[in-house]
């Protein structure tokens, strides 16, 4: 049995299942946080899948998701700003927990890869994932209220 595939299955089922539950029920502030965390949880899953299948080129999927996921959340943060201003979401504990999970997955993959160019690529993906996620969380909770162009 492939341990990486098992880890990917468990993280995808648990993470995306919880994110789907969060986005399907509850008030609007909970739904936007769940949407933000769904991309942050899917990205480590994709990285683990690439290791499980032994195809380093699958890491590109994680890279694209780490770049575009926060962009999608920023779209919601900008266009739902009026609704969210009355009832701003505060989920810093959850955000940092998910960021820690992503960091743990990236660290495990780096150890498995060994020092090489592929490891640097994984580290770039991890840094993009965590920083993009924290920025998107801050935008959702109204941290960039002063930036309102257009």
């Amino acid at each position: 049995m492939n341990g990486w595939l098992l880890a990917a299955t468990v993280s995808l089922a648990g993470g995306l299942g919880a994110a789907l539950w969060g986005v399907a029920t509850g008030p609007l502030r909970r739904r936007v946080v769940a949407q933000n965390l769904s991309t942050a949880l899917a990205c480590p899953g994709l990285l683990l899948l690439s290791q499980a299948y032994g195809r380093p080129s699958y890491v590109d999927l994680g890279l694209v998701l780490a770049l575009l996921g926060p962009v999608g959340t920023l779209v919601f943060a900008r266009l739902l700003a009026d609704e969210l201003a009355e009832d701003p979401p505060r989920a810093w504990g959850l955000t940092w927990t998910v960021a820690g999970l992503g960091a743990a997955a990236v660290t495990a993959l780096c150890v498995a890869t060994g020092p090489s160019r592929a490891m640097v690529k994984l580290l770039v993906v991890g840094a993009l994932l965590i920083s993009g996620n924290v920025i998107a969380s801050r935008a959702l909770s109204g941290g960039f209220r002063g930036v309102r162009g257009g």
Binding site: P56, L63, R117, V120, K121, V124
Partner: protein, 60 residues
Amino acid sequence: MTPRTALLAAAELMGWWVALALLWLVLISTVDTLELAVGAASALVGALAARAARRAVTGS
């Protein structure tokens, strides 16, 4: 443009170019001459765009 500002601009472009070329080098799968040439060229274009964007944001 005084020599001092020209030197500063060249240094900034060089910094962007090095960072973007390193990023390209990390993200490609196989390293060969063609990849390196394309990477250097696109890093130059990216450095020009990055400097223009930085000047537009900071307004200097």
